[in-house]
């Protein structure tokens, strides 16, 4: 059993006795009792999508499926192709990748998840490093520590280019560390 706050995009969980894959997770602050998790999920039995909301300490059975380390190879519209160490290729549908699409990058290492012998999704590392390809310069006068701005990060397929909220001192071309569970900026990496 895992609490909702530890469930990641790509995990398969049992909801009302049905295996569901988590495609997207939006985490929002709420009452004193913690965060609210809004998930987009898809049933592995019926393929039907649904949106639900959970408390961070709601507990779920996580279905342990076969996993295999793979690297992202290329996009063969509409499928995303991954390759394992033996050069075997696995194709995954776009809609099953969910938020992972935001972070895909050529040669990226991740884990393919298998259900009934078929690769159905990928699980990303908890933290990844990406370069900022565009961000507005900080506006003079905005000095509060709470102020954030949008930063577009590099990825493999432009259509899924993604913005992350970063502090004002972070600049274009900087490398930043991102938590893929929350889609949040963690820190800037500068030598």
């Amino acid at each position: 059993m895992k609490p909702a706050k530890e469930i990641r995009v790509g995990n398969i969980i049992m909801v009302d006795s049905k295996p569901m894959i988590v495609l997207r997770s939006d985490v929002n602050g709420s009452s004193r009792t913690g965060f609210t998790y809004k998930w987009k999920m898809k049933s592995l039995l019926t393929n039907s999508p649904q949106e639900n909301v959970f408390r961070g300490d709601d507990k779920f059975d996580v279905v342990v499926l076969d996993k295999k380390p793979v690297t992202y190879s290329y996009f063969a519209d509409p499928l995303y192709v991954f390759m394992d160490a033996d050069y075997e290729q696995f194709e995954i549908e776009e809609e099953n990748l969910g938020d992972a699409l935001h972070y895909l990058k050529d040669g990226m290492e991740c884990e393919a998840i298998f259900y009934d012998g078929k690769a159905i999704s990928v699980e990303l590392p908890t933290t990844i490093v990406r370069q900022i390809i565009y961000s507005e310069p900080a506006v003079k006068g905005n000095t509060s520590g709470n102020v954030l701005k949008d930063a577009k990060i590099e990825n493999a397929v432009e259509a899924h280019c993604h913005n992350v909220q970063v502090p004002l001192f972070v600049s274009q071309d900087d490398m930043i560390e991102i938590d893929t569970r929350t889609n949040e900026y963690k820190r800037v990496i500068r030598n």
Partner: protein, 395 residues
Amino acid sequence: MHLKKNTPRSLALFCKVVDNYGDIGICWRFARQLQQEHGIAVSLWVDDLISFQRICPQVAIDLEQQVVAGVLVRHWRDQDGRFTVVEVPDIVIEFFACDIPPGLINAMAERTPRPVWLNLEGLTAEEWVEGCHTLSSPHPRLPLTKYFFFPGFTAKTGGLLMESCLQQERQQFQSDPVAMHAFLAQFGLTAAQMDSFKIALFCYPQAPVSALFEAWKTGKRPITCLVPQGVAVEAVQAFLGGEAKVGASATHGALSVHVLPFIPQTDYDKLLWACDLNFVRGEDSFVRAQWAAKPFIWHIYPQDENLHHKKLLAFLDRYALDAEHLHRLSCAWNALAVESLAAPEWTELWQKFLQDMPKMQAMAQDWQQQLASNGDMTSNLLHFVDTLNLGGAQK
């Protein structure tokens, strides 16, 4: 009254008190409205009867269960306890995502039809709430579905708690100088103080009350500050030069401070209606200040990682976008973006705020009407329950 053929007739509301009076304050208003205006048999389970008694003196703190104003009040001692299927009401509400007893959840799963299960969440003006309001939350193992219900400030949320007669009562009170005089006179206010600029002060202990007292003292306009016993004790005692007991009063410079008894919920609205400016805290008094249609400053319940600052700014963005000085004073009052302000800065902040009063008064009235157009939370919630029942959610 909400009474259709298939309308739920029984409801259990579970309240865990964390923020002294806010949680039970909201639940008590909600429970009474459900019972009195919608004819629903309400069981209010609350873990802290002592806090409850302070806002509702009729509550006995040593009873397992009692009926108060038509509501069955039950002392919620722990998570133990067996619940039979027949004990499960038509609607079960967990307030602020509190954990309801596992035995009740099991009984809920066995009941036919299943009860409507709601998590009534805390109030926030953040935009994400609109995307989560009324979304389902299927139980991971049992054939039960919970729904998240968010109060809020827009038509895409559940609205705010408001009794059907509230605005009429407010207008009646505010247009009756004799009633207002009698209400204020019970606290020992002189005629001159009644004519002064009146402020009700309710806040958490960390509010910079002393700094504001200094600004009020040195101003030209006479101010009377009414503060309930137990609130801002250190600053009030320092001002009084003695114990901050009920009835204590002192005047220094332009400022008079009076210590009030802790006012029952039914009278608190009158205090807000009678004052020119209200400092409120938490959620319950914050909502009542908005229905009072008077300018107010909100002291928000502090949360880890300064989450409350995000909520404060989200509210100010909706409410006070064009009121710069209200925005600045609110931020300073909640230690947001300023670590500390020197006394002259507070004085300047206050003077500018005061100059904006006519504008803020008009803004408060517009805001109150805007909120009212969203309907009241209790009716909105019961309407949502109806849609679930009609849609066959209770199988």
